[in-house]
Every structure is written in structure tokens, then in C-alpha cells.
Amino acid sequence: MRRLSPRTAQQIVVSIMWMLAAATVGTLVFIIAFILFHGLPHVTWEFLTQSPVSMGRKGGIFPMIVGTAMVSGLAVIIAAPIGVATAVYLTEYTRESRITAVIRFGADCLAGIPSIIFGLFGFVFFTITLGMGLSVLSGALTLALMVLPTIVRTSEEAIRAVPYAYREVSYGLGSTRWQMVTRVVLQSAMPGIFTGIVLSLGRSISETAAVMLTAGSALGLPSSLFDSSRTLALHFYILSREGVSMSNAYATASVLIISILVLNVFAYWLMHKLVRKPR
């Protein structure tokens, strides 16, 4: 058999890789298009601004939008400072030791645990033991625990990628460690840290199992952190699983997908602004 010329081999490999990439992107586009196709026609202004009627068969999803924003927003507000602080501590304030190894190992283990387990823990600990009940707060705390490892690890990577030379220069100019960390390291690592936080926000928004067990599935508009609230993802799950209304399920999914897309675009825009204008 004649051997392929390097040129032909190259072309074959490139086309195979192109097809694989196209398949990945294609599947994604297909799923999104499918849901938007079935869902968007039902996404009306009323749908976005009204409360559900008869378990979601009619009416809108306004309380779920509010609930999702509260639960996920609060989760990230809690997890981000703790996660970033942990990463700073691990990278800048300790030398590698058994303790840092244990913390890192713990974070990796936590990251691999299925969300339902976090849900169960949140249910037992926040909801029952601490008496928070099925509430926005229980849900947010549970999600915060769930995304914490991601934030720690992504921040840590971002911080480690900051060249050692910057630290030397900063010390060389007489800065303290804290000044070095806040003005040089966090500044330079910001894009990476930010990406981790946005990823975590996305994960919190799309989580179902963990919020079902902790934030509950009440249909009403939550008026405080101690109210139960159903998130969009959970609402979608319940609507479709219980066959309440497939069109409303698709419409809810459309809203979910679009908000995650918008969130990502906004995040990247914001990040560019933060990085472009160094102060």
C-alpha cells in the first residue's frame, strides 16, 4: 500500500478534527435552537412579569426569576470572598505544607461530589438543624458550599499564573505583603478569578437537585431570605416531569438559557472594562 503523502495526511487529520469540533458545536446549537424554538413563542411580557396560575399551567414565572436571582446571587456573594481569600491564603500566606495539601485535596473532593449530596447536607444542616427551613437562605448557603471549591481552585490557578517577578518588584519597592497581594497579584489575576466566579454563578443558576431540598418549591414571590422559593431550573424540572405544561416548561428553559448567555456576555464585557482601565 502506498503511503499517504504528508500533505494528504495533514488534510485528513484537519478535516476529522474540524468535523469533531463541528459536531460538538452543532449539538450545542441544536439543543439551544430546539428549546428556543419551542419556548420563545410563549415568552411574553406577561409570562415574565406575572405569577404562575394553577401550578404553572398558566400565568408567568416572575417569582422564579426573583427566587433564582436571590438564591444564586446570594450564594456567589457568600462564596466569592471566602473562596478568593482562601486562594490568597493558600498561595501567598503559607508555604506548601501538609495543611495546604489537605485544604487543596478537600477542595478537589468537594468539587467532585454530586450536587444532590450537597442538597442532602444542606437539608439536614441548614434547613433542619439550624432551623432555617426551606428558604432562600438555606438554598444560597448550600449552593455557596457547592461552588466554593471551584472558586478556590480557579482563583488559585489565576494567582499562581502571576509572574513571580511582579512580587519581587513590589517587595523591592518597599511594599508590604498585603499591598503586594491587593495591588499586584489580585489585579493581575482578576480576569481568571472573575471567570471562576461567573462559572460558579452559572452553575448555581442551573442547579436543581440541591435547591429543591433546601430552597423548596413554593410558587409565591419570596419576600425575605427566610421564604421558600422555587428557582427557574427547578420550575422547569417540575413543569416537565409532572407534565404540567410542556410549552411553559420550554418557555422557562428559554428564559434560563438566555439569562445565562446574557450573564456571560455581560461578565466578559465587564471584565474587559476592569482590565483595560488599570487603576
Binding site: 508555604r95 509572574p163 517577578a165 511582579y166 519581587e168 518588584v169 513590589s170 517587595y171 523591592g172 519597592l173 518597599g174 511594599s175 508590604t176 499591598q179 495591588r183 499586584v184 489585579q187 493581575s188 488599570p278 487603576r279
Partner: protein, 251 residues
Amino acid sequence: MDFKIQTQDLNLTYGKFHALKDVQIQIKPQSITAIIGPSGCGKSTLLRCFNRMNELIKGVHITGRIHLDGKDIHSPDVDLTILRRRVGMVFQKPNPFPLSVFDNVTYGLRVHGVRRRSELEEAVESSLRATWLWDDVKDKLWGPALALSAEQQQRLCISRVVAVRPEVLLMDEPCSALDPIATGHIEDLMRSLADRYTIVIVTHNMQQAARVASECAFMLLGELVEFGPTIRIFENPKDKRTEDYVSGHYG
């Protein structure tokens, strides 16, 4: 004569490795002193002793004395941040922060608590003028420092140090990442700075040492072999090892 920096029986070990052995050096104020020697002989290590940068490294142990203006820099009442402000350092690779030119130059001042806008602006102009960078960058003070050429970046790094008004400038092979023309410019700059600052430069380039330095130290395997006026070191070395090195018999 009063020396700017003076060491006595300076010894430094990295773990078990003895990197500086009984180093005695006296550095004159307002002059350029060069440290030469083959790779790994401890030039950078010695330089980093003068602003206590070696302390960032784990396992470093230092004995002996280092005096700055006659005062021991290791004495407990020395404020490390003030010491490093007085003894500034320029590194081998141009390494501006990924910030604007303005923010690079003012970094040190801000760290030391200067907030007044006018004061910062004044410092930026005078430091950039001191390094002859002002005309090149005065219109791009808010542009990214990393967009400058390598030579401009290195001059920016020198401005960044000059901005905090140090007394001593430590330069560790400041030209090794630059082409010969840029190197010439930096050397001119060093000479122009020498009437205000005490400069200690590490270099692999013996011609460079001969061109800029009035005093020269030759190191070998952690020892300060010979130290004296540059001309004498090059033309009339007392030690056989110095002679071999300056005549090119070592790497």
C-alpha cells in the same frame, strides 16, 4: 571616607550551599561599582543582600554585617519597607506591571502612602525625565506599559525605582535582555544617574564594567577575589584568578 555600603564577614548559605564566603566590600557613594564574575559565583546573591531580598527565599541564612551609611541593615529597628525604598532594585528582565505607564511609575509612591494627584504627576514627569523616557511616553502615560519596546520598558523600570527617591540603585544585569544600541543608551543613563545615586551593577559583560564603573569587584565561587578601581582590576590585577578572568580565560 564614608562608604555608602560596607560589608563585614558576610556569609550566606542556601540550605547547605555556601553561596557567599566572607565577603568584604566597600561601596562609595555617588559612583558606579560593578560586580563581575562567572555564572553562579554569587553576584546576584550579593546584590540582593543589600536590600534584604534574599529573605524572601526559604532556607537562606546570613551572618556577618551589612552597613548602609554606617548603620546595620539587619538591626531590629530597621523598617524593611523603608530600607527597600532607600535601596532600589532593577532586575534583569524588564518587568513592568501590566498597568499603565503612569501607574507603574507611581506604584512605589502609592505603596508609601502618597495620594496627592499633583505630587504623583510631578514624580512621574521627573522620574521619566531622569531616565530620558519622558518625550517618548508623555502622550501615552495611560497606555499599557507592556506596549513599550524592551529598552523603554527597562527605562520605565528604572523610573519606577527612581520615583521613590532611593539612595542606592542595585542593577542585576540590566542590559542582558537588550540589543547593543539599547545597552549603550542604558549605560549613558547610568552614568548620568551616578552623580545622584550610588549604583551597584552586576554584569557579565566586562566591557560594560570597564565602560561604566569606577570600581570593580571580581567574584569567584562565592568569594570576593579582588576589589578596586576598575582600571587597576583590568590592567593590573593582583590575583592570578582575576587576571585569568579579565583576559578571557574563564567562561
